[in-house]
Amino acid sequence: MIRLIPDQSRRIRRTAEVTFWFDDAQIPAHEGEPVATALLRAGQLRLRDAPTVAEGASAARGLFCCMGACQECAVEVDGAVVEACRLEAVEGLRVRSLGRGA
């Protein structure tokens, strides 16, 4: 197929892989990559359940603004609520989902 926009994905160099925990799942990430981005790559889109939802609506929420504005990606680390899209992955980090009643 003719491409005028070349696929440059092979030319990207990333940091070494680390592993962190999202609830009970082990998630691979590049060191320093936002946790939300690593979760997206791992197919984990549902980051939390919203506390207030309209009747009949799904409470599932995930990455939305990707830049720390919408707060949809809120997760818990060490008892504090943080934005997963601004949280950098480091080896062994323990991240918990919010509102999923686990």
Partner: protein
């Protein structure tokens, strides 16, 4: 721990506008503090790559960003990165700014303030837009530029203006698959914008290459269509798209497209809350993206010592933001009795030319009134508080006919996002329901905190007392 900082000029926002304003004021010999919540300067358009990227091919945006970051690093500008501005107060002639630096409260006192807070995107709420896998269209550019990761395996890119095509091209450049492009604009809309685009042959050529690439690779482009419903419970599995009439009201048979991810956005809205909090009057100008602070070309406002520039002063695009930043740097220097060498009428001419291009893009991106009829009564408008369109309609019927009233009555815009993602849709619905124009329904009064601050307890449930901010000093 509370730190105290003191400077001549405080600049909010290290994008093209704020970055250049800061550089100018520093060249005039003034002390400058440049505040931005991001790790690196560059703003939305010239966003730096994240820590996980060691090397990657350059783009026009990444080159412009590297250049700005190098200039700031080599200058006397004090760049306060990873720092959120949450409060603006006046103390006599000086500004007192409440900052959160890596979670720690810091107070910054400045003789003059330049607000270059940029824009935020308007995402037209549609049924299912809260489903995981739906990204904001402009937000997706952050994922693509910072993390160099694509939204999914098969992505629908939907929305207005040039950002749809930029995002689709970036997804393809990073090896992703664009399932379809859905845009309310028609080819005729773009043809009408062509004369205004001729002033930027470089951008025109780039756009033409994107279009030709999409055509050659067989990516379907649904012109004159809107994404009207997201399909999927806990994750996106597809979307419905509708053809639109000239007012962008759905007209004609619906079609379904399968996808695991989608980007959705309908133009940009100036982020005016900081300027509002600083006391700047606002006016409504649809050609500039809605409500804008009152300011001239140099960013001078009716408030003494307050300047605004860039997309936060009206959506004119990145190139115009950079020029207006330089002009505002000159303006603020003059206000403090200094001069920036080398800023003159040539800058003003370039700014006006760039702004003309930017305004044409804003006109293409601005949603037309019919688009809001994609909302049904069960559609969530305020994502944080779970307020539906139906609940809002009832509140309006019961007399909540201003943005302040729906905020206090329904908590629309009181959640952790501070109204960033619902306010435009809410004021539009108030206008439609009460038969007024958008210009007759002002946004709510700006209140601190301007930015989400670390949440103390559960998400969506922050109390003002929980915020890690210093108590006001006794006078």
């Amino acid at each position: 721990m509370t730190g105290d900082l003191d400077t001549d000029v405080a600049v909010l926002g290290a994008g093209p506008a704020g970055g250049n304003a800061a550089l100018g004021a520093a060249r005039a010999g003034l002390r400058v503090a440049l505040v931005d919540e991001q790790q690196d300067a560059g703003g939305q358009v010239w966003r730096a790559k994240g820590k996980a990227i060691r090397a990657a091919p350059e783009t026009p945006e990444s080159r412009a960003g590297s250049q700005l970051r190098a200039l700031i690093a080599a200058s006397a500008v004090d760049h306060l990165a990873d720092t959120r501005l949450w409060q603006i107060e006046r103390h006599g002639p000086a500004w007192r700014l409440g900052l959160l630096q890596g979670g720690e409260p810091v107070q910054l006192t400045a003789r003059a303030l330049v607000v270059a807070s940029g824009a935020r995107e308007f995402v037209q709420p549609v049924p299912g837009w809260t489903t995981p896998g739906v990204l904001g269209l402009a937000g997706a550019t952050a994922l693509l530029k910072r993390d160099m990761v694509v939204p999914g395996a098969a992505t629908i890119v939907a929305g207005t203006g040039p950002l749809v095509f930029f995002t689709a091209a970036e997804i393809r450049r990073l090896g992703g698959h664009v399932q379809a492009i859905v845009t309310p604009n028609t080819r005729a809309d773009w043809m009408r914008a062509l004369p205004a685009m001729l002033v930027r042959p470089d951008l025109l050529a780039r756009g033409a290459r994107w279009m030709a690439d999409l055509a050659l690779s067989g990516v379907p482009i649904h012109w004159g269509h809107a994404l009207s419903r997201v399909i999927g419970e806990d994750r996106v599995v597809g979307a419905e798209v509708h053809p639109l009439d000239s007012d962008w009201r759905p007209a004609g048979p619906v079609r379904e497209i399968a996808a695991d991810s989608l980007c959705l956005g309908n133009g940009l809205v100036p982020s005016i809350e900081a300027a509002q909090l600083a006391g700047c009057p606002i006016r409504h100008d649809p050609a500039l993206g809605g409500w804008v602070p009152d300011a001239d070309d140099e960013g001078k406002t009716p408030v003494d010592g307050l300047f605004v520039c860039g997309d936060g002063a009206g959506i004119r695009g990145a190139a115009a933001a950079a020029y207006q930043g330089s002009l505002a740097g000159q303006g603020v220097a003059r206000f403090l009795g200094a001069q920036v060498p080398g800023i003159g009428p040539r800058h003003l001419r370039r700014y006006r030319r760039a702004a003309a291009f930017g305004r044409a893009m804003t006109a293409l991106s601005a949603p037309r009134p019919g688009l809001s009829s994609l909302i049904d009564d069960a559609t969530v408008l305020c994502r944080c508080e779970g307020v539906t369109s139906g609940a809002l309609r009832q509140a309006i019927a019961a007399g909540a006919t201003s943005a302040n009233a729906t905020k206090s009555g329904l908590r629309c815009g009181m959640g952790p996002c501070g109204g960033a993602y619902c306010q435009t849709a809410v004021t539009r619905q108030i206008a439609v329901s009460t038969g007024r124009s958008e210009g007759e329904v002002p946004p709510p009064t700006a209140r601190p905190p301007l930015r989400p601050v670390p949440l103390g307890g559960l998400a969506g449930d922050i109390a003002y007392e929980d915020l890690p901010i210093p108590k006001p000093a006794p006078l």
